[in-house]
Amino acid sequence: MGTIVTLVVNGLAQGALIFLMASGLSIILGMMGVINFAHGTLFLWGGYMYVWSYYAIRLRVVMAWFEAAVPVTRFGNILTIQGVQLPPGETLPFLAELAIFVAALVIAVGFVFVMGLVFEKLFINRVYGRVPAQILITLGIQVVFTDIVRVIWGPNPFPIDRPPFLNGVSTIGTARIVHYNVFLILVGLVIAVIIHRILTKSRIGMVIRAGLQSPDHVRAIGINIKRYFTIVFAAGAALAGLGGALYMPLVGNVVSTAGMSNQILAFIVVVVGGLGSFMGSFLGSIFLGLMGVGIAMTVPGLSVVANVLIMALVLMFRPNGLFGLAVSRAD
C-alpha cells in the first residue's frame, strides 16, 4: 500500500511537470494553430536561468549574512554557477530562502516570457497559417538556442540542490512522500485551474476563441488580434520556462539535452491527449506521468520505448487522441 501511494505521488508530480510543458504547447497549437518545435529550448532556458539566478542570488545573500561562509565548486562557462557552504550549524531563515527561490523563479519565467515575445515578433509572425514553415523555423530556433545555452553555461552536466525548505521527505505509514513532489502537484493544479479560468471566463480567452472563428469580425470591432496572439505565444513560452525551472531541482542534474527530451514528452502528451486540446493535455499528462512511474517500477527496460509506443498506438487507432478531444483546427 505504502509503495503504491509513493508511486502515485511520484507519478502525479511527473505528470504535473509534463503538464506545464504540454499545456503551453497545446494552447499555442489549439488557439493559434502554431506548432512550436522550440518549446524544449524555452524549457531549457527557463531551467538554466532559474539555476543561474538562484545560485547567484543565494551566493550573495549568504556571503552578506555570514562572514564565515565559503563559496564552493563552480560550473559554467561565460556565466558561472557557484554554490556556497554555510558555516556549520547555521541556516538561512525560511523567509529568506523562500524569497530567493521565488525571485529566481520570477527571473526565469520572466526571461522566457520575453524570449517568447521576441520569437513571436521575429519569427512566428511570418509563418501564421503555414504549418511546414512553422515546423522548419521553430526547429532551427530549437537547435540554435540550445547551442547558445551550451556556449553560455558550458556543455557539461552539473549537479544542483533543491531549496532547503522543499528538500525533505516525510514517511506516512510505509509511504515515502518527497516534499518537492507534493509541491509540484500543487503548482500543477493551481496553474491548471488558472489556465482553465482564463480560457473559459476571461476576456482574453473570449477574444482568442472569437479570433479563431472569424478574425475579420474581431478586427472589425477594433480589437488588435495580433497583440493577443503575441501574448498567448509568450504565455505558452512562460509555462515552458516555469516547467524547466521546476524540473531542474527535481532531477538535481542540469543537462543541456533536457530540453529536447522533455519536448518529446510534451509532444507525446499532446498527441495522446488530442492535438490542441487543453483538457486533453491535462489528462494526458497525468496518464503519462503515472504510466511512466508504473513502467519504471515493473519493466524498467521498457521505460524508454513505452511512451513512444503509446503514442504510435494512439495515432494508429485513435488519431483524435486517447480521449477523442483533438481540436479539428490543429490540422
Partner: protein, 347 residues
C-alpha cells in the same frame, strides 16, 4: 507548398545538355588526381550527402511530408555498414550489408508510414517522427554492446574499407562519385515514373489526386520506402568513407543536415541536393578548419552557425539558394524591362 523553381524533367535530354553533363563528369573524374587527402574526403562526403539530401527531397519535395526521423535510416545505414565490414572487410560483406539495409529500410519505412500517414496531418507526422528519431538514438546510446554507445563504433580492420576494390582515399572518391551518379539516375527514374508523377500530383493537390481515384496513402507509403532505402544506402557508403559510426548520425542533427541540404538546393528539384550538399559540407568543413586555427570556444558549436543559416534560409529564401538566385534574376529582369519601357520616348 512546393517551390516555384523546378528543373524540368519533362523534356528529353538534348544533345548540348548531354555533352555538358559528360564534360562535367569528366572533370570530376580527373580533378581528384590533383587533390590532397582532406579534399578527397570532403568531396566524397559531398557526393554521399547529396544522395542523402535527394532521399529527403523525394519525401519533402515530392509529397510535402516533413520527416524529422530521416536520420534513423541514414544512421542505421552507417551502423550496419560498420558492423558488417567489421566482420569481414570485402565486397561480399558490403553487398550483404546493402541487402540487410534494403530489407531493414523497407520494413522501417513501411512501419513508419503506418504510424505517421494514418492521421494525415503534417503536425502530427513531424511530432511523431521527431519522437521516433530521438527514441532510436536513445536506444542506440544504451545498447553499448552493439553500437559502442557514446564512444561510437570505429571500423576496425583497415585504413580504407573494401580492401580488394580500393586501398586509397582516391578509390573511395571514385566509389562515392559512382554511387552519386547511379543513385541520381535511379531516383530520377523514380520521379519520372508514373508513380513519381502521381506523387507530384499529390504534392500539388492531395484532395484532387484522391478524387481522381488514386490511393494517396499507398503512393505516400511508396515514397517513404524509396526515401528510406536511399537514405540507408547513403549511410552505408558514408560508413566506408568516414569508417566510424556514432549516434550523431541517428540524431536530429543529421535530419537537420538533410533539411538544410534540400533547403539550400531548393525542395522538389532533386539535383538541387548536389549543390546543397556541396554548400553545407563545405561550410561545416570551413568552420572546423577555422576552429582548428583560431581555437575559439564558440566554433565548437557548428550547429550554431549552420542553424542560424538555416533559419535565415527558411525566412528569406524558402525556394533555396538556386531558387533565390532565380527570383533575384527575375526581379532584376523585370526592373530592367520596366526601366527600358519607361525610357522609350512616346511616339
Amino acid at each position: 507548398m512546393g517551390s516555384n523553381v523546378r528543373l524540368s524533367f519533362d523534356k528529353k535530354p538534348e544533345l548540348p545538355k548531354l555533352i555538358a553533363l559528360a564534360a562535367l563528369i569528366t572533370v570530376f573524374l580527373v580533378i581528384p588526381q590533383f587533390m590532397r587527402n582532406t579534399q578527397l574526403i570532403m568531396m566524397s562526403r559531398i557526393f554521399i550527402l547529396a544522395v542523402y539530401g535527394m532521399s529527403y527531397d523525394i519525401l519533402r519535395g515530392y509529397t510535402g511530408f516533413i520527416n524529422l526521423g530521416q536520420a534513423i535510416f541514414f544512421g542505421s545505414g552507417v551502423y550496419m555498414g560498420v558492423i558488417f565490414l567489421n566482420m569481414q572487410n570485402d565486397l561480399w560483406f558490403f553487398m550483404m550489408a546493402a541487402g540487410s539495409i534494403f530489407v531493414a529500410s523497407v520494413i522501417g519505412g513501411y512501419v513508419m508510414s503506418k504510424i505517421v500517414l494514418r492521421t494525415g496531418g503534417v503536425v502530427a507526422a513531424a511530432m511523431v517522427t521527431l519522437a521516433l528519431g530521438e527514441i532510436v538514438r536513445n536506444i542506440a546510446e544504451r545498447w553499448r554492446t552493439v553500437t559502442g554507445g557514446q564512444d561510437g563504433l570505429p571500423l576496425r580492420f583497415s585504413r580504407v574499407a573494401l580492401e580488394p576494390l580500393f586501398t586509397t582515399r582516391l578509390g573511395a572518391y571514385y566509389f562515392a562519385f559512382v554511387f552519386l551518379i547511379v543513385m541520381t539516375f535511379a531516383l530520377r527514374a523514380f520521379v519520372l515514373s508514373p508513380t513519381g508523377r502521381v506523387l507530384q500530383a499529390i504534392r500539388e493537390n492531395e484532395q484532387r489526386a484522391r478524387f481522381l481515384g488514386y490511393d494517396t496513402q499507398k503512393y505516400k507509403t511508396i515514397a517513404l520506402i524509396v526515401s528510406s532505402v536511399a537514405a540507408g544506402f547513403s549511410g552505408l557508403v558514408f560508413a566506408v568513407i568516414v569508417r566510424f559510426a556514432n549516434t550523431d548520425y541517428l540524431s536530429i542533427t543529421y535530419t537537420l543536415n538533410a533539411l538544410l541540404i534540400t533547403l539550400v538546393g531548393g525542395t522538389g528539384t532533386l539535383y538541387g541536393s548536389i549543390l546543397g550538399s556541396a554548400f553545407v559540407t563545405w561550410i561545416q568543413n570551413f568552420l572546423l578548419d577555422l576552429n582548428r586555427s583560431l581555437g575559439w570556444d564558440i566554433l565548437r558549436y557548428p550547429m550554431l552557425f549552420v542553424g542560424s543559416l538555416y533559419i535565415l534560409l527558411v525566412i528569406f529564401m524558402p525556394a533555396g539558394l538556386l531558387g533565390g538566385f532565380f527570383q533575384l534574376k527575375n526581379w532584376w529582369d523585370r526592373k530592367r524591362l520596366s526601366r527600358a519601357t519607361d525610357n522609350t520616348p512616346e511616339a
